[in-house]
């Protein structure tokens, strides 16, 4: 793999239980080989995505974030992924204001049958983030501030 000095990004992926996590299952069953850089978290619905999860991931060292759910209109909970879209748009604006490149955070729809598509999208995302290089938020001076935002009421 030709890379940015061998830079291998770490990406956190948020998937819903019904479509995109099953798409990952499907990609596995089909033995599709794709970039190993994404580590998935299962939630019941992409509507569960709290923007602070994304900030937390980036602040704690992830180089990018993938958010994935059922296709609009196919939501297991009828319409919650439309709320994901709205929330995601707001999140993007916030991230842009914080200087995070647009390509680092990506929203992908994948139905339970679309393992191939999810794998392709992951490959694309990884390639794009490789081209951007590490995010390195953790090393930045104001990272504690971001962490504070991200941490919120999370007592750990």
């Amino acid at each position: 793999m030709a890379g940015n000095n061998g830079f291998e990004p770490v990406i956190i992926g948020f998937t819903c239980n019904w479509c995109s996590y099953r798409a990952a299952d499907m990609a596995g069953m089909a033995r599709v080989k794709y970039a190993p850089n994404v580590r998935l978290i299962r939630m019941m619905c992409s509507g569960r995505l709290d923007p602070q999860f994304v900030l937390k991931a980036l602040a704690e060292g992830a180089d990018g974030v993938l958010v994935s759910g059922c296709h609009p209109g196919d939501c297991h909970y009828l319409e919650q992924n439309y709320k994901t879209i709205r929330r995601f748009e707001m999140l993007k604006k916030t991230l842009a204001a914080m200087g995070v490149e647009d390509a680092r955070v990506k929203l992908v729809w994948a139905s339970a049958a679309e393992g191939m598509i999810l794998a392709e999208e992951i490959d694309k995302l990884v390639a794009e983030i490789k081209a951007l290089g590490p995010l390195g938020w953790k090393r930045m001076a104001w990272a504690p501030e971001a962490l504070a935002i991200a941490g919120g009421d999370h007592d750990n």
Binding site: P36, D50, L78, Q80, A112, H154
Partner: protein
């Protein structure tokens, strides 16, 4: 983190499925050495085996584990298995967590060291999350014993009868005026060649008469609400324009109706029906419907011949659609298939060349109750063909159309060959790529047809044309094909061509899936819960599928699935109640500021605002656990059980491998 958390980590080899790519021993050892809270890390050949489960149970008891993490396949496969093991060991099953290192690591990664690293990260995430898990009690709901079956083809009828005979009530919804489905159109059924109607009609009749069956033909499901055990289904009963309580099904109206219409559905476009009609004489229910679009009265305002002649005065031109609601505990979908439209392959000439027929047209042609009374003739209605070419795989196994095998066409084509031979003595060619006859007595049937002198040409037909080029071709249809066993291009003149059309998902399968909350495969078939081990269940509890809506299927397979779905539903009904995941949201009233932001977010209307206390409250019976309100609450007052902020935040930390404990000293 809670200091007295004691976590056990179990890494599965899954034979070589995982161990072939991931260094499972090192993952287990590393987990024990480096992950905070982990007191034991083990690897085992098959964690899901009874020995693997016993290993967990033993550790829970002997080492006092308070959390269990298994790194193996997808939780969709074995989460329930390991939760049971925990329960047996006295640990609350929701203190169990799983990492999918097969589907997400070993099967999708080639490099062993990279795969091992990723597996470690996933295990770390699961371990960190598990520390924050809380014990939960499953949510128990009663199961309404009534069942909805959608689709009155053979699979739906079979499911209906299984359940109705078992004593529960079934609402059988059918879109067409009569149940029976595609099977009612067929002439004979392979491999035994018994007459399709003869074996189907008794079943249709029983379903129509059964005291436990409410038959809703000429009806469609509009809306489904609720969840397993408690669905509310809205059904549109379309207006027949005939009062079924007084109609005797005598058929006089049909006789007297002056408007003839080409019957695209039952006769596959090969025959006619009237504007008021029953698709076929043995229709169940026996009442006719008025086809408003073709009825002279509805189009021009005069006629009413049916009303004039109806002996009981059952015609009701003013009848309107009726919307009814039924309460059921389980739903079986048996919505069947559509036939591939042969006109999509222009080089086969269907629609342009008169004597090119589709398989369903041929069925009607061969059917004694069909437009020719069972005579196999050309489109002129009189000429018996001297030679017939039957083309396999039309629209199947072809990336230009459908890449899957439609599975019924080989046997169907062999059956056609036999019927043509038997009734006309014509020379019959079968053009095939592979002959697939894998079920009981199928290959014997193939042998039998070969013995009858049918000619088999191995090659996918390139084109069918009426453009004669050589002597002997004038006035014929010429089938151009490479005879692959000879290795030469051949042009074979015939009188009749039968295209063995493939099966396709219903044109509206996607909408149906959406209505019932299930998913379709890339090809458009409904997806089963597991392709081998759970073929009639879906990912949505309480929704089952049977027959060709799940994939191409012949009659025996469709019947098996209908019966299987019936048995699955009966099992649930007998349990009387079902435990649901306690993944629910709840409001901490002390923290709720009463801003009502969450109120409009819930599509299930589970959130109510208590005016007197000025706080929102969530009804756990209605909540489906998506967590959208949890993410939205500005005060952080809504807790999402099993997917709390704490749990997800810790999983993020774990996945990023933060704060690993110092490697434990090597034991002496």
């Amino acid at each position: 983190m809670n200091d007295d958390v004691r976590i056990g980590v179990y890494v599965c080899h899954c034979g070589s499925n995982i161990a072939g790519t991931v260094d499972v021993e090192s993952v287990a050892r590393w987990a024990q050495d480096s992950l905070p809270g982990v007191v034991v890390g083990r690897d085992y050949k098959f964690m899901c085996s009874s020995l693997g489960q016993e290993l967990i149970e033993k550790d829970v008891k002997e080492l006092g584990l308070t959390r269990v993490v298994v790194a193996a396949c997808s939780p969709h496969l074995h989460e329930a298995t390991f939760r049971d093991a925990c329960r047996r060991a006295g640990l609350n099953p929701f203190l169990f967590e799983m990492a999918s290192i097969r589907e997400q690591v070993s099967w999708v990664t080639s490099d062993k060291s990279i795969a091992t690293e990723k597996a470690k990260a996933l295990v770390s995430g699961a371990v960190r999350r598990s520390a924050h898990l809380e014990p939960l009690e499953p949510f128990v709901v009663d199961i309404n014993p009534n069942v909805l079956v959608v689709g009155g083809g053979i699979a739906g009828i079979q499911a209906t009868l299984e359940i109705a005979d078992g004593g529960s009530h079934v609402y059988l919804v059918e879109r067409e005026p009569s149940i029976g489905g595609h099977m009612a159109q067929l002439d004979k059924t392979f491999p035994t060649l018994d007459c399709s109607a003869c074996i189907l009609t008794p079943k249709m009749f029983t379903a129509g008469q059964h005291r436990n069956v409410t038959l809703l033909a000429w009806s469609e499901v509009e809306k489904v609400e609720g969840f397993i055990g408690n669905f509310t289904v809205t059904i549109r009963k379309r207006a027949r324009k005939v009062q079924t309580d007084i109609c005797t099904g005598c058929g006089v109206c049909e006789e007297k109706c002056p408007k003839k219409v080409i019957d695209d559905v039952f006769e596959a476009g090969l025959g006619y029906r009237k504007a008021i009609y029953r698709p076929f004489p043995q229709a169940v229910p026996k009442y006719p419907v008025i086809d408003v679009e073709n009825c002279t009265y509805f189009q021009r305002g005069t006629c009413k011949a049916c009303e004039k002649f109806c002996p009981t005065g059952a015609i009701d031109f003013k009848q309107e659609d009726e919307i009814i609601k039924v309460e059921v505990g389980n739903i079986i979908l048996a919505t069947g298939y559509d036939l591939f439209d042969c006109g999509r392959i222009p080089q086969y000439g269907y629609g342009r060349l008169a004597n090119v027929f589709t398989s369903m047209e041929f069925e009607r042609l061969a059917n004694a109750a069909g437009p020719t009374g069972g005579k196999v003739v050309l489109r002129d209605g009189i000429t018996t063909p001297q030679s017939v070419g039957i083309v396999h795989c039309v629209g199947s196994r072809d990336r230009n159309y459908n890449k899957y095998c439609s599975s019924i066409c080989c046997m169907q084509s062999l059956k056609f060959a036999h019927i043509v031979k038997e009734r006309t003595g014509a020379r019959v060619y079968n053009f095939y790529i592979d002959i697939r006859t894998p079920a009981k007595a199928y290959d014997e049937f193939y042998q039998h047809v070969v013995e009858e002198g049918i000619i088999f040409v191995r090659g996918k037909v390139a084109e069918v044309t009426d453009a004669a080029r050589m002597t002997g071709e004038d006035g014929k249809l010429i089938i151009q094909v490479e005879d692959t066993l000879v290795g030469k291009q051949r042009r074979i003149p015939v009188d009749m061509v039968v295209l063995s059309a493939g099966l396709e998902p219903r044109g509206d399968a996607k909408e149906t899936a959406k209505t019932f909350g299930i998913s379709c495969s890339m090809d458009g078939w409904f997806i089963e819960r597991h392709p081998k081990l759970d073929p009639v269940a879906t990912m949505t509890d309480g929704i089952f599928i049977a027959g060709a809506c799940q994939g191409p299927k012949d009659i025996p397979a469709a019947v098996s699935q209908g019966a299987a779905a019936g048995a699955r539903v009966m099992g649930l009904i007998n349990q009387q109640h079902v435990s649901l995941e306690p993944v629910r949201a709840s409001v901490n009233a002390d923290q709720c500021s009463g801003c009502r932001i969450c109120n409009n977010l819930c599509p299930f209307n589970a959130i109510a605002f208590l005016e007197d206390r000025a706080v929102s409250e969530i009804n756990p019976a209605l909540c489906q656990g998506c967590g959208t309100c949890v993410a939205a609450c500005p005060a952080g007052a809504i807790a999402g059980a099993h997917y709390s902020n704490d749990q997800i935040m810790s999983q993020i930390e774990g996945l990023l491998m933060l704060d690993l404990k110092q490697p434990a000293p090597v034991p002496a």
